[in-house]
């Protein structure tokens, strides 16, 4: 058993374990002592680092949002051709990999908690506004290059996010055995129809 690591190492370690237990057990089934057992440390140590469970939850959200915002996944400045760049952008937004940046069960869990926890809601709002702004910015560029033809780029960005999230949901409840990609293709095509007129 390792000893005397510091906060910079231990805190992410604990959050990672928290995340893993969360995936397996959900919020109802995840306690401090279970997380501690999972990584073979004493429960008190978790309190020592995070003060309480609520803080730990918020810090996990921050971590996951940072993961989600990872810029290398959604910026394609290296692609010269505008049409190619646009396609890469849309493909990524509707890709399985992108949708699984965070475990969908946990994703939904935090959505749910945001209804009663204003702190969580604030963080999620900030994240989605960031995503919307980013998409909007891209659409403005592609619009100026006549790759697409939309009047209101913000509205279009809203619609894209709406479809992305609906897609996540659809794949959970309505995809009868088919893969994620089958329906994502259909959603994507609808978006292109709308963007390209």
């Amino acid at each position: 058993m390792r000893k005397n690591q510091n906060a910079a190492i231990r805190k992410p370690e604990i959050l990672e374990s928290y995340y893993q237990v969360l995936i397996q057990q959900g919020f109802e089934g995840t306690s401090i002592s279970k997380i501690a057992k999972h990584m073979d440390i004493h429960p008190s140590l978790i309190i020592h680092y995070f003060k309480n469970k609520e803080n730990m939850k918020l810090e996990l959200i921050d971590l996951l949002i940072e993961k989600y915002k990872s810029p290398d996944m959604i910026s394609f400045e290296y692609i010269e051709d505008d049409e190619d760049r646009f396609n890469a952008f849309i493909d990524t937004l509707f890709s399985f990999e992108w949708s699984r940046t965070v475990d969908p069960g946990i994703h939904f869990g935090f959505y749910y908690l945001s209804f009663r926890n204003k702190e969580i809601q604030r963080r999620f709002k900030r994240m989605f506004v960031w995503l919307r702004d980013h998409i909007q910015e891209q659409l403005i560029y592609f619009n100026s290059r006549h790759i697409i033809d939309v009047r209101d780029e913000k509205q279009a960005a809203d619609l894209i996010i709406t479809l992305m999230e609906g897609l996540e949901f659809h794949s959970h409840f309505l995809s009868d055995g088919q893969s994620f990609d089958t329906f994502s293709q259909i959603a994507k095509k609808s978006v292109l129809d709308i963007l390209k007129k």
Copy 2:
């Protein structure tokens, strides 16, 4: 305090209280004794009727799904003109009232639980397949009457549900002060664009 009611009255009464406490406190904050206190009965009585908490949860889901399926909200056979009937149908699917048949916080909560609880997942799948089938059926009719023009009605129904659910999500995180209806109009317009070509 009333006494000696029977199961046919008491069980729905308890489920209603369960639902109310759930809206205010969420799943984490809802215990059997809290529900009992809310309706001024003894906690054991709840166990007496439902045997355990899990059963009560499932029975609540069944009740809410029945509410959701309430046929008078989504059948418009009384409207003679096909165009009018179609519009009434689409308007309802994207209406605030329809989206609030069940409290959205609870809705999300059950989605979330369905990731780890197969029994809940089964019920939700059944409900959404039912809804999809219903929409598909309607689309087939409207297609035959040339009100819309779609090749694959099932795909179209999938897309409508995806947008409906995404809309719920959007209104929670991205509607900056505007009402539900503002963006629902946009989503609806996109659907019509796709259905009508």
